[in-house]
């Protein structure tokens, strides 16, 4: 089978539709993962032992099982208990929860890296727990973790093809659909690869910049 440029131009608009969905899912998933990760990181530090342990176990479980299976679960099993999510929403929740367990580790490391003296100074300033978190600890903890977070968002981007299993029409699904229609796999799959590589390379350049910008803290 030969490479066919005409075919490439023919399917390009369809694939671009897929790229849009892929990027949308990544962006929404990233936001959710950032929030969920923070929730898990804080929850695991809760003085309530049972809560902390419970959240810890759930996070470990989610991190130790495949996203694909989780997506099936969210999409096909949750409706049985009355939770019906659209494919994109289910996909974003799956990505967000799964990657939230990764970003939680990043947050944890970032928080642990804030020196103990900062907690003590906050206490000596009589700040409340909430004020200590929002004004003292997180503002110091978050900038150094931005590169690591970005890293996970790039990884998430590359896992969006999983969403095709729950009928989200992202890039990979569009490509498969094109392949199904014309019985040609070479061009669509190669193009998907090229799209991913191109976006990843741009993302890596961006990441280097983030590392440069936020990677270090002055004390």
């Amino acid at each position: 089978m030969e490479w066919d440029w005409n075919f490439v131009w023919q399917i390009m608009p369809t694939l671009i539709e897929g790229v849009k969905i892929t990027i949308l899912a990544t962006l929404l998933g990233s936001v959710l993962a950032a929030v969920v990760g923070l929730g898990i990181a804080l929850g695991r530090r809760s003085p309530n032992r049972i809560l902390a342990r419970g959240i810890g176990f759930v996070a470990e479980f989610i991190r130790g099982t495949p996203l694909l299976v989780q997506l099936y679960f969210i999409f096909y099993v949750l409706p049985d208990i009355g939770i019906l999510l659209s494919p994109l929403v289910a996909g974003v929740i799956g990505l967000g929860l799964h990657y939230g367990t990764y970003t939680a580790e990043v947050y944890r490391a970032g928080i642990d890296n804030v020196p103990r003296g900062q907690w003590e100074a906050a206490k000596a300033c009589n700040l409340s727990a909430r004020q200590t978190w929002t004004r003292v600890i997180l503002p110091q903890a978050i900038p150094p973790m931005i590169p690591a977070l970005a890293n996970y968002f790039i990884a998430m981007f590359k896992e969006t093809p999983l969403l095709s299993a729950i009928t989200v029409l992202e890039l990979m699904n569009q490509a498969k659909s094109v392949a199904n229609t014309y019985y040609r796999y070479i061009e669509p799959i190669t193009l998907v690869g090229a799209f991913f590589l191109a976006i990843s390379l741009v993302a890596v350049v961006l990441l280097r910049w983030l590392e440069h910008r936020y990677g270090r803290v002055e004390r």
């Binding site: 096909y76 009928t167 029409l169 498969k176 659909s177 392949a179 199904n180 229609t181 019985y183 796999y185």
Partner: protein, 262 residues
Amino acid sequence: VPSSAQDNAKLEQLKAQGFARVAIANEPPYTAVGADGKVSGAAPDVAREVFKRLGVPDIVASISEYGAMIPGLQAGRHDVVTAGLFMKPERCAAVVYSEPVLCDAEALLVKKGNPKGFKSYADFAKDGATVGAPGGGTEEKLALDAGVPRAQVIVVPDGQSGLKMVQDGRIDAYSLPVLSINDLMKKAADENLEVIAPVEGAPVYCDGAAFKKGDEALRDAFNVELAKMKESGEFAKIIEPYGFSAAAAMSTTTAKLCAPAQ
């Protein structure tokens, strides 16, 4: 004209390796996988028997998406597709088919009472109704050809998912061949669902064993044995328990089914 077995290199190769690699779909009753992992179902059973007669003792089935079957055949991943891959002119151009094996009409799975009154695929083109179908399958093409926008034809990975999506109200209807839908319904035993069959305007389709272009000799040998089985009634004995009609398959020919639509 059936060629003699002597110059059928592909068949010799299959005999030598002792099995043929067949692609099947995960779609009862065309295919079924028992709790013991044994592959059965109408299409593989026919293929198994034909190959046995050709001197190839067994088949090794691999489950595949419809869309991946023809590329897989072309890439040499399978020797033959026996999956309810219905004959259509484009497909006939891409592969070589045996004489018809399993025939079926199309059906729709909808909510009880068919609230939106679907009768044909064209009905989905109106007011944004959605229809689910297997990716790369016949139903997807029929819907698209009937003018349903791409965004309203939802590619669903397998029948069970399609059933679930109708139950959950994610799609308005799910389309598969009649027998497949009936099988799904039987397993689901869901009072709130209903089958619309046949879909108006959709032709009755037959599948055949699909071979890679260039394997015409093998196909011809396959046809010879298939014809003998049809004649002896053995064919009917294999497929009718699954609900298929042997008469339907014997009443038409590949040449007719592959002819470009009028």
